[in-house]
């Protein structure tokens, strides 16, 4: 249609806006890092290289750990049938509703030096001191393994569900044994799913901040190193560190994308997935069921811990193995004192506003370049929308802070540091990939005939959008928006760099509560965050 030429100006404008939001701050950081003499300092200090290396190996180890847990679980739940499989199968994705920082403090309360597990062991064995300390690389990996195996689990299950049983039968008919079939047919067919999960875990682990921040102790990874340097006031060095981490992220992205292969492999299998095989021997079946429920309890323990600790009044729990008093006093104080409620209100409005803006931008992108027919500026707009995903949160926060600490309207820079708008702006950019991908995918699936039918029935452009396009996009919009909202609501990485007293979000308040040993209040905030996240995600997943 003739619309393509007319829409050139809005497309160019959207491209520029997205570039200003997602790329410009990174360019500013690169320029400022290059122009200072901090590069020399970075190269010279062994601590910097140590942190960078730690980031890389922790991320790779997280991938291995998450794969080792997630892949077998996926096979178990997709291929075998045993009592309770369905319930367990969805319970097992639970770590996903725990915002990273909340998950970390839940681990702290559960497995930390003075957590439930340590106290229990101490009480049983009659020890003087806590039997262990939850610190260093192993603690970080424990948290990563717990929260990130879900990616492998979900993607592998999805891949297995798409598998064509006749391919497996063909291999067996050609004389391949069970292991050979797995090795030569099943796993190669799963490659895109596995590579995708590996990429997700690697990027998430590389940008992970909460776990190293709380459990790292003397062990530094690049994200915590950047924040520490910035708090020390060594801004130029922080910029160099930021650029270094960004480079590692991009390198990881490129390398892992290459192993992903193309969709051809999955497109080939268009049959029915293999039927689940019931476990026949009763002993084995009971064992599997018991192991499954044990696993579910293990996965639910952090959530449970958080709930219990949130009921512990301040100072009432000292050396006992279990808290002696439980009451709702923390919640009453939280909702009774406006000053304590502030962080919750802050987080809600910032997450709400940034999600709304991210959805609006995603819709604009979809309307301008989302349809199946070719469109100018499609490539740039699509890349700009997903780009923030590849940038660790700390990196982007530092970049934003650097960009908007200068007043220079001609280079599109204003002083936003210290104002309440910078943090929601960061949330917005970090929400773009998830809303954008959902909306663009939905636009691509949209049957053009639906919009044409509406037009030929007399609906104008706005009428078509409101009455047909938007309702068709609704599930994708809800899914994208709920994910973005939950991520922003629980955000800690960017918040710790960009918050001000006036817009301090929940995660920051949790941290300050922990500092003054108000564990109950911190946990209560965590529970609220968890419940709201679960509700919003549930709402977003409804068809």
């Amino acid at each position: 249609m003739s619309g393509s030429r007319r829409a050139l100006a809005p497309r160019a404008a959207l491209t520029l806006l997205l570039a200003w939001l997602a790329v410009y701050p990174m360019l500013v950081v690169i320029a400022e890092a290059a122009s200072s003499d901090a590069v020399g300092a970075f190269v010279a200090r062994p601590g910097e290289w140590g942190a960078l290396w730690a980031s890389v190996w922790i991320s790779l180890a997280s991938v291995a750990l998450a794969a080792a847990v997630g892949i077998p679980l996926a096979f178990l739940f997709e291929w075998l049938e045993f009592p309770g499989r369905k319930t367990l199968g969805s319970l097992i994705a639970l770590p996903a509703v725990l915002p990273p920082f909340v998950g970390v403090i839940a681990f702290l309360f559960l497995y930390g030096e003075s957590g439930f597990a340590a106290r229990a062991v101490q009480a049983v064995l009659g020890l003087e001191r806590a039997p262990w300390r939850l610190q260093g690389a192993s603690a970080i990996l424990l948290v990563h393994g717990y929260s990130m195996y879900v990616y492998f689990y979900l993607l592998t299950r999805a891949g297995l569900a798409q598998l064509d049983e006749s391919l497996i039968e063909a291999a067996q008919a050609l004389g391949a044994g069970r292991w050979q079939t797995l090795w030569r047919v099943t796993l190669p067919l799963l490659r895109p799913a596995l590579a995708g999960a590996a990429l997700l875990v690697f990027m998430t682990a590389l940008g992970s901040f909460s776990a190293p921040y709380v459990f790292g102790g003397g062990f530094r990874v690049m994200t915590t190193q950047i924040v520490a340097t910035k708090l020390n006031g060594e801004l130029p060095l922080a910029m160099v560190e930021t650029v270094a981490l960004a480079l590692v992220a991009v390198a990881g992205l490129v390398v892992l994308r290459r192993t992903e292969g193309d969709d051809l492999l999955t497109a080939l299998g268009r049959g029915t997935a293999p039927r689940r095989r019931p476990i026949r021997r009763p002993g084995v079946r009971r064992l599997a069921t018991a192991a499954g429920w044990l696993l579910a309890v293990l996965l639910l323990l952090p959530h449970l811990t958080l709930a219990v600790v949130s009921l512990v009044p301040y100072g009432s729990w000292t050396t006992e193995a279990v808290p002696p008093v439980l009451s709702l006093v923390n919640y009453r104080r939280l909702f009774g004192e406006p000053e304590r409620l502030r962080p919750l209100v802050n987080s809600l409005w910032m997450a709400g506003l940034s999600t709304l803006a991210a959805v609006a931008l995603a819709l604009a992108a979809g309307a301008l370049v989302g349809r199946r027919r070719p469109a100018r500026f499609r490539g740039p707009i699509e890349s700009l929308i997903v780009l923030p995903w590849a940038i660790p949160g700390t990196v982007f926060a530092v970049a934003l802070a650097a960009t908007f600490s200068v007043y220079s309207p001609f280079t599109l820079r204003w002083i936003l540091v210290g104002t309440v708008v910078l943090l929601p702006l960061a949330y917005l950019v970090r929400s773009l990939p998830v809303t954008g991908r959902a909306v663009l995918a939905a636009y691509r699936q949209l049957d053009p005939a639906l919009e044409e039918a509406a037009a030929s029935l007399g609906a104008g452009r706005w009428g078509v959008f409101r009455r047909v396009t938007l309702p068709s996009l609704r599930p994708a919009l809800a899914a994208g928006a709920s994910l973005a909202f939950v991520a922003a609501l629980g955000d800690f990485v960017t918040s710790i760099v960009l918050y001000t007293y006036d817009n301090r979000p929940i995660s920051i308040e949790i941290m300050s509560s922990l500092r003054v040993s108000e564990l109950g209040v911190a946990a209560a905030f965590g529970v609220i965050l968890m419940v709201v996240s679960a509700l919003v995600l549930g709402l977003g997943a409804r068809r």
Binding site: M1, L450, E452, S456, L457, G458
Partner: protein, 325 residues
């Protein structure tokens, strides 16, 4: 039939690329007439339909409906009802809402929707969702939705292609009866000759973006205007060279003879029966001539057996110039 030009396409052309051009197409349709646009896939049938609906704008030419020039009018203001090949029912709306979609701003859309649903024999289906309906029911909802705003022209894109073969014939008759009862001018697109012949008052044959012939089914079959029409519509033996000359053809021309215009005789074109396909009332024979040509002959099931040496004589034959490239 006299064409009063209720719908006029005048030299309409649409260029997709250097190699693919549709048109120029000129076509007149009378009020209340059903025209079937017939052609192989890729011939540009759907493009012509979409040009009429306003989803595509022509590069040249003029389109008029009821004397009004609609060439540059957006789809929303053309008042053409369209039934899409896959129906394009709005999945988020129920049947009643789908049918009432085009009735915005009119008095009592609910009642009107109910009336139209009754017309397509789906009274009481208002609250069903499209995915709960069978293919045939979906097709009728799509038809009802297109008819509800009382359009000037009905456009059908392969209306029966999505249905079970067993359902097609009955649906075709019902569709024809309904269109005639409503009396709406209709253009339908199809690649199946039987469908076009059954539904169309006239059939327009589209070949590589151009109209080769517009006429009644009898016209097309008995008096095809081109080699393409002769071979695309109905079964035909296409002969060149020596075999053609025996049957009365001339050099440089292509001879076409229908299977039922060939019969076994005591003399004529000699050949060998290679295959016999029995269809009940008649049988089709594959006869190979001395020059290696294979002819299809329709005749009495007992007329010959595989391996028989036979002679063929032709009734009516047609000759054409070679097909244009």
């Amino acid at each position: 039939m006299t064409t009063t030009g209720f719908v006029t396409l005048d030299g309409v052309r649409k260029q997709w690329s250097h190699t693919v051009t549709i048109g120029p197409v000129s076509l007149e349709m009378a009020r209340g007439e059903i025209v079937a646009l017939l052609g192989p896939s890729g011939s540009g049938k759907t493009t012509v339909l979409r040009l009429l609906a306003g989803f595509e704008l022509p590069d040249a030419g003029r389109i008029a409906i009821e004397g009004e020039d609609v060439t540059a009018l957006p789809p929303a203001r053309r008042r053409c009802g369209m039934v899409f090949q896959h129906y394009a029912l709005f999945p988020h709306l129920d049947v009643g809402e789908n049918v009432a979609f085009g009735l915005r701003g009119r008095a009592d859309p609910g009642r009107k929707a109910g009336e139209v649903l009754k017309l397509v024999d789906l009274a009481g289906f208002e609250r069903r969702k499209p995915h709960e309906l069978s293919g045939g029911q979906q097709q009728r909802v799509a038809l009802a939705r297109a008819l509800a705003p009382e359009p000037r022209l009905l456009l059908l894109d392969e209306p029966l292609s999505n249905l079970d073969p067993s359902l097609r014939e009955r649906t075709r008759r019902e569709l024809h009866a309904l269109i005639k009862r409503v009396g709406i001018t209709t253009l339908l697109v199809t690649h199946e000759q039987e469908e076009a012949f059954d539904l169309g008052d006239r059939v327009a044959v589209l070949n590589r973006g151009r109209l080769d012939q517009v006429g009644t089914p009898d016209d097309l079959y008995e008096r095809p205007a081109s080699l393409f029409v002769a071979t695309f519509v109905g079964r035909a033996n296409v002969l060149r060279g020596a075999t053609a000359r025996v049957l009365g053809g001339s050099d440089g021309r292509v001879l076409v003879v229908r299977p039922e215009q060939l019969r076994f005789a005591d003399g004529g074109l000699p050949g060998l029966v290679r295959e016999r396909r029995y269809t009940g009332a008649a049988a089709f024979y594959q006869v190979e001539t001395e020059h290696g040509d294979r002819l299809e002959v329709s005749g009495d099931p007992a007329a010959a057996r595989v391996g028989d040496r036979v002679y063929l004589q032709a009734g009516r034959v047609m000759t054409f110039a070679e097909a244009r490239e």
